[in-house]
Symmetry: C2
Subunit: 299 residues, 2 copies
């Protein structure tokens, strides 16, 4: 079963207490795709400038990621730079240069329109709607969003929410979107939009999912050292959607497993800079950490 | 198997967004004892002033809490008052009047010195050592502490840690005590003191336990409404120690179960003001919520 991922492709310059990396391959679609490709076929839709490295394209292709929806436009690729504080919980954005991403208008290739699983990365709600209109009848669509859209495009965002199966956001966004500081109330309020599964990521505190009436809580993997938190949320989404596509299910049990696979992939990605760790993972490593998650919460 | 609880007995005046209560029965020993008495026999050691209500004493006695170690001294009972912010995560202390608690010097009654399970509430490390010296050979001792003692009596605190089996503290205290902002590193550092089980409470984010090499994570119960968070930590300790005493075990599996029972009791106490909810709980209610915790993390 194939997964369509729509989002940003970027070159990230990141500084953490453990080092600095310049112009690493990044962006929501890249992190999500590189996580999901361990589980299922992935088609990536995004845009890059004519400065985008061939070896980056090659790297994605080697992971069997279908790049027929990756458009190259004249101009520069989206660039982002951030610096993380000592405890890794706060980060300052040094610059955001949208470049060709500013005019991104996703066109879904013909053969990707029948994808049964779709992840709408953090792009404008208008573009997310635009993607949905191009799609056939996907089985399960999950979306991300951010504070900027919650503030500036609330009505369109609510429309997207009414049309998707799941939203994957962080706790600050959930509180902003719902108006509630209580995470359970926040999730319940967001369900009122019509989106039946709400997944709230709480970073080192794990993740809270409501799916219909049911609550599920997954911890974050207890890591002694986080090298670079960039992309953890999109990597989570990749593991989550990848497992759903692989398992061909959207029942409550499969959704719980998917949350754990999302958490597994996120726990790996932050152990190295950028996407590095996603590139060297094996099925056995993923399975082993999944089993460790089970031991971690068993009683 | 009986549990000895040493700590404060107080009259708390608490204001939360949901109301205000004056001079409620409170204090670390009271919350811990009223939680633990659902699991095991409890002996309470503490001090009150001659203004302490007879009906409060009666209430504890009705729960089979042995008060032969509750001393009455001339003067006033310890009083504390606090006000909680809207999101319940921050609180301001309005006043702390130690009164007779200032000169508290716990004397353990003869028949309590053979207690096999001991909880040392948040009193000075010197007094905690003093209690330990009076005891026979307890099977399992857990302790609490706070920022004040970590700052002002670090050496004595480290001595207590070297003599107990478990420490139950919150994340801010764990970071202060260990010097690490990473919760896993913090727990590992604290284990170096000789205390093999470290339990870090993270409020609404649940609780992290390391026991030897093993990690265990329990969520907090997802509550839509928290009326009054006062005493949640001591209530957790009561459920935790109560289960250990009841199960007569200190193996890793029993410690995990104990963490969940602690979380169950804490989730109940915050649903009402003060100790109110602890007074009306039944075994069936506790069992039911314990089972809900299992469903909450199952995958």
């Amino acid at each position: 079963m194939s997964l369509l991922v729509v989002g940003s492709v970027a070159l990230d310059t990141v500084q953490t207490p453990f080092g600095k990396r310049d112009e690493m391959l990044g962006g929501s679609a890249v992190y999500c795709a590189l996580a999901a490709c361990h589980f299922t076929d992935v088609k990536l839709v995004g845009v890059v400038g004519d400065d985008f490295h061939n070896d980056a394209t090659e790297l994605l292709r080697q992971r069997n990621i279908d790049l027929s929806g990756l458009e190259t436009r004249p101009g520069k690729t989206f660039r982002w730079s951030g610096v993380y504080a000592d405890d890794m919980n706060d980060r300052d954005t040094l610059y955001t240069a949208l470049n060709v991403f500013e005019a991104f208008n996703p066109t879904i290739p013909e053969d990707a329109r029948t994808a049964e699983y779709v992840f709408l990365g953090n792009i404008s709600p208008k573009l997310q709607l635009n993607v949905l209109e191009q799609m056939g009848k996907p089985v399960f669509v999950a979306m991300d969003t951010m504070n900027f859209w919650i503030d500036s495009a609330r009505d369109e965002l609510l429309e997207v929410l009414s049309k998707v199966n799941a939203v994957i956001i962080n706790d600050a966004e959930a509180k902003q979107l719902s108006g509630s500081t209580n995470v359970v109330q926040a999730a319940r309020n967001i369900q009122q939009t019509g989106c039946s599964t709400v997944l709230i990521k709480k970073g080192e505190h794990g993740c809270f999912q409501v799916c219909g009436e049911e609550c599920f809580i997954a911890p974050a993997y207890p890591l002694e050292k986080v090298l670079d938190p960039t992309g953890a949320g999109d990597t989570f989404a990749g593991g989550f959607m990848g497992h759903l596509a692989r398992a061909r299910g959207t029942d409550s049990r499969t959704l719980r497993e998917a949350v754990v696979y999302g958490s597994v992939m996120a726990s790996f990605v932050v152990e190295q800079f950028g996407v590095d760790n996603l590139l060297q993972l094996t099925e056995a490593m993923i399975r082993q950490r999944y089993d460790e998650f089970r031991r971690l919460v068993s009683f």
